[in-house]
Assembly symmetry: C2
Homo-oligomer: 204 residues x 2
DNA sequence: CGACTGATCTTTACACTGTTAGGATAGGTT
DNA sequence: AACCTATCCTAACAGTGTAAAGATCAGTCG
């Protein structure tokens, strides 16, 4: 009797909800969002095609649940990237940016899902993201860098620009144009943050 | 006898290929890429569901043809945005960045398609883009700005960073997170380019 | 003029998708 | 014991991308 993974143990299956999410994440990693069908998810969970509807209102709800987990993983990756980077706030800020791109490179399917709101059922995926740990991690490290004096400018503006630059690098890399480039993603992430004036100051 | 639009005039229909692309672009504007079905395209062109296959190998080929046109329109928009912006190279550079975001805001369906390579049939959409006018417009204006002395740094690096920042702003705006923000897209585009140190220098 | 040819278009069909409706089953409660 | 409700399954519908086979029509060659 193969109970799948988690704790509370459901009724007939053994926490099917969790099994469906795991199967979905697996497919996400293999075939991307567009290659993910609810029926295949059900198949992998060893259950009929209609079973998921007892745990998720529709496909978007499943994806939303997966995305919610993804938001947390992204936030965790950012936090880890920041603390690994070094002692100064500027170094941590830089490390966070690199970690953002790394997350996209290592989990492209999940990363794309996080920013494809039309597939999600959540009322406001924007709010979900903004309210999520990720943005708070960004602000946290940024505030420290400003206090440190290594970054200047209006906090919200700098946060916006940093997010845009790093996010742009991430998608342009995983979705083609930059991915075909000879540059590695580390090089790209570094270059972008440097030019932004965040990683190092290229020339004083 | 409603001949649809273009010049060469096909056989039975009157340039069906062009009519299919126009219908596709129309749907793209109304329902986005994910709401575009080959059958609906055929329906709007007043033709059977299999007819498109005599002009395009598959759905991806149609989308590729549309995207190719989109690349040209984007390049044109960038060029126009640059020349409208003012006399100095820095001003033109700034205007181009704003035009990039404007294009995404005004044609979100098309913009998303351009950067969704998995839907395209083109061998290398990356190459298509890089070799396209858009990137050359960017480099052109950038070189002028460097010559002018208003932008410093390795040309390729600055081009990369600028593209990433502006592209990130564009998608984050059209795909949710920033779109729900109270900022207008003009404000966002301005802020990003300013912080980048391209629009103006925030503080010397 | 009439037969042929090849591109264009239609009809039909298949496998797949998301989703719903109705019936079976098996825990937990009374 | 009877019951109830969450869970799950079978069957079905409309819609999708795509392939196969036949119809039709423009232009060419006898």
């Amino acid at each position: 009797m193969l109970t799948v993974s988690s704790s509370p143990r459901g009724y007939h299956h053994g926490d099917l909800r969790r099994a469906l999410m795991d199967a979905g994440i697996e497919i996400l990693g293999e075939h991307g969002v567009d290659g993910l069908s609810l029926r295949e998810v059900a198949r992998r969970a060893g259950v009929s095609q209609a079973a998921p509807y007892h745990h998720f209102a529709d496909k978007g709800s499943l994806l939303s649940a997966i995305a919610e987990q993804g938001y947390l993983e992204l936030a965790e990756a950012l936090r880890a990237g920041a603390s690994h980077a070094g002692g100064t706030a500027l170094q941590r800020f830089h490390g966070m940016g690199v970690a953002y791109v790394r997350f996209a490179v290592e989990h492209p399917g999940m990363f794309r899902l996080l920013f494809r709101p039309e597939m999600l059922a959540t009322a406001s995926p924007a709010g979900t993201f903004a309210a999520t740990a990720s943005y708070r991690v960004l602000e946290e490290v940024l505030v420290a860098a400003i206090a440190e004096g290594s970054v200047t400018g209006p906090r919200d503006d700098v946060a916006l620009a940093a997010w845009c630059a790093v996010h742009g690098a991430a998608i342009l890399y995983v979705d083609g144009p930059l991915g075909a480039d000879e540059r590695t993603w580390e090089d790209i992430a570094n270059t972008v943050t440097v030019i932004l004036g965040l990683g190092f100051v290229p020339r004083a």
